[in-house]
Subunit: 227 residues, 2 copies
Amino acid sequence: MSMPTIAIIGGTGAEGSGLAMRWVAAGYTVIIGSRSAEKAHTRAEELRAALGERARGTLRGLPNTEAAAAGDIVVLTVPYSAHKSTLEGIREQVQGKIVVDCTVPLQPPHVTRVFIPEGGSAAQQAQALLGENVRVVAAFQNVSAHKLQDLDADVNCDVLVCGDDPDARETVIQLAHAAGMVGLHAGPLQNAVVVEGLTPILIGINKRYKSKGAGIRITNIPRPDEA
Amino acid sequence: MSMPTIAIIGGTGAEGSGLAMRWVAAGYTVIIGSRSAEKAHTRAEELRAALGERARGTLRGLPNTEAAAAGDIVVLTVPYSAHKSTLEGIREQVQGKIVVDCTVPLQPPHVTRVFIPEGGSAAQQAQALLGENVRVVAAFQNVSAHKLQDLDADVNCDVLVCGDDPDARETVIQLAHAAGMVGLHAGPLQNAVVVEGLTPILIGINKRYKSKGAGIRITNIPRPDEA
């Protein structure tokens, strides 16, 4: 599949909407999923309007379950509190597919403290819940939704991609590139605990240093964006 | 104390030696500690020779216990396998002081996989072992020893500083600055699990992308090095 269809579960939120816009601008077919069919439709319409002529691919909205069924790649951008229930709702529809988990385990109100859930990470929880026929890849947890939604902004944040399946990992590295970022192979899925945990540290840095979209960049390596 | 004496326990290794050189070049009094008095003396002599006229502070070598007793700030740069026994050996000498733990928990040969030890992180283990009269700060885990030892090199790696005591944290941020890096307040000691765990990810990136000193940089914040 040269240009897979991407379903974004929880895609009406800021992170999912930002990714949707960038992938549609890059020519992908994207489906925004929401618990509410109406919200999904409305958000898709809004994003299409915002994209205007920059939309090279197509964008539509569907309820989460239908979106998951229609996607070749299923991206999960929901708050951690909805992580488990959302996965249970799409478990059947994602069998045999790549699931990209962008979830950050947070324990409000302590959103600047690293919280390690049972099982190690949200991504490992997803893998355990979905079963071995699903290739879970963890990515995009550290990316500022604000910057994603501004197509003219340099996101200026690397995407550390963790997963156990080499092809799935490489596919997600390409999706990061398509969205204007550098994706890097960051090891097996068990390493996701660190990438997820970077987000509360970045939230804390935003508060302390009065910034909005703190991100990370891997230094001292040959980079595709510095060729 | 405007210019504290810094003891580096396990300072004959590459990381400790690199930090020692940079702090001596910045004017600090540094004591290199080793299990062997002779190794400590020899290494201090070698580093003094390497520094030449760039040594603004002084540098000497002592056995670990004596080094810990003589230091105002005690920096720990030992392999994780020696972490517990080293801390037990200096426990008495560091009471009332700041201990900077640079340790990365690794499980050789799987050095590219994140390993979370009992207690959450090496730094939290140190805090538990040393007791509440010691202010443990976690820092410098991600910095390439190779780059540290080359005084003319831009280390190009931020230092994420985790600790529960604000003054101790700020002191370590200043030490990072003195060594030519940007130190950033990265939250409480419990966040050290993520900073420690970044190192196996960076080791993996070095292997995969054929680099030697991969580091991290926090982006999209106001930076003291971009004023």
